[in-house]
Amino acid sequence: MFAYQKRLQFPIDIKKKDLKMAKMLLSQYGGPYGELAASLQYLNQRFSMPDGRGKALLTDIGTEELGHIEMICTMVQQLMKGATFKELKDACLGGHYAQFDHALYPTDASGVPFTITYTQTTGDVIADLESDMAAEQRARATYEHLMDMTDDPAVLGPLSFLRQREIVHYARFKELRDIYQKEMKK
């Protein structure tokens, strides 16, 4: 089961409204390489991991990704705070306002709703871990694209933190893939 901690994994305090950035950040909420997809992929794959190491790693990284969803939502909400309808419309968020007002909804940066088909599972441990490695690399690349689009330090800080998490997760998945592969050859 899961227990909530009433704190963010990394502090976020964004004061400058930036609706275009909010729209782009949605990619990491409900987009194909977003945190929601990553979390569900790992928490689903863990059920078919061959031993305790894989079950633990996918549980722990999948859980951390839930905290990253919260960070992305926090950033989007703070970037959108106090925006008028006209401002939202000018930032191409008119459709978002029509459907969701100032609420959050898991879509990608173009407003396409999240779908579970963004996640991968085969039941083959090597194939699954390699899909996780690839997921981390795609998320890292997305964070770099997002970092290219802002110079607000209050946005760059958390993005840089999240990008670095992808690098560490990638390394852990790769280590585990290598360990399993080595043991299979014995």
Binding site: K6, L8, L156, V168, L176, I179
Partner: protein, 161 residues
């Protein structure tokens, strides 16, 4: 039972392969095709060099051997604007360092040095959590120390009022 069952055997095999590697070789974190066997290990123990918890927290990475920046952008954290946020950052840093070791230990469960470090960081994080809950309200629902149900108190983590 399956072919991955025997941790010990795997651990020894891995230790031997690490020992052949140079001490503290620079490991690219794998963004552009790294070799995991060239990790930043030394001869005496498996656990690589670590950043301090606060440094690690700011960077999002406890392991200097894994760190890779982007476009020279310095990792940065908002300045704590009050004592509450300062204590929360302290808790965050130690909890983060412990979490990093948790992920590492999932792959190397027999690294006693890392378990020791994990316990050290976890203890400090727990101390900070208790102090925070006494002063400002619960972090977890089990941490309600007041006589009223302070779990519902604002602000929630996503609010920066």
């Amino acid at each position: 039972m399956n072919q991955y069952y025997n941790y010990e055997e795997c651990e020894n095999g891995f230790m031997n392969s690490y020992k052949k590697e140079e001490m503290n070789s620079d490991w690219n974190p794998g963004v552009f095709g790294c070799d995991t066997n060239k990790s930043v290990m030394n001869d005496l123990e498996r656990l690589p060099r670590l950043y301090s918890p606060y440094e690690a927290y700011q960077r999002g990475n406890l392991f200097p051997g894994l760190y890779q920046g982007y476009q020279g952008i310095n990792p940065s954290m908002p300045e704590p604007k009050n004592q509450r946020m300062e204590l929360l950052s302290y808790l965050g840093a130690y909890a983060f360092a412990a979490h990093e070791l948790n992920l590492y230990l999932d792959n190397y469960p027999n690294d006693r040095e890392a378990v020791k470090k994990f316990k050290e960081y976890k203890k400090e994080a727990n101390k900070a959590k208790e102090e925070y809950e006494k002063l400002y309200g619960p972090i977890t629902v089990t941490g309600v120390t007041q006589d009223t149900w302070t779990w519902v108190n604002e602000p929630w983590p996503w609010e920066n009022k």
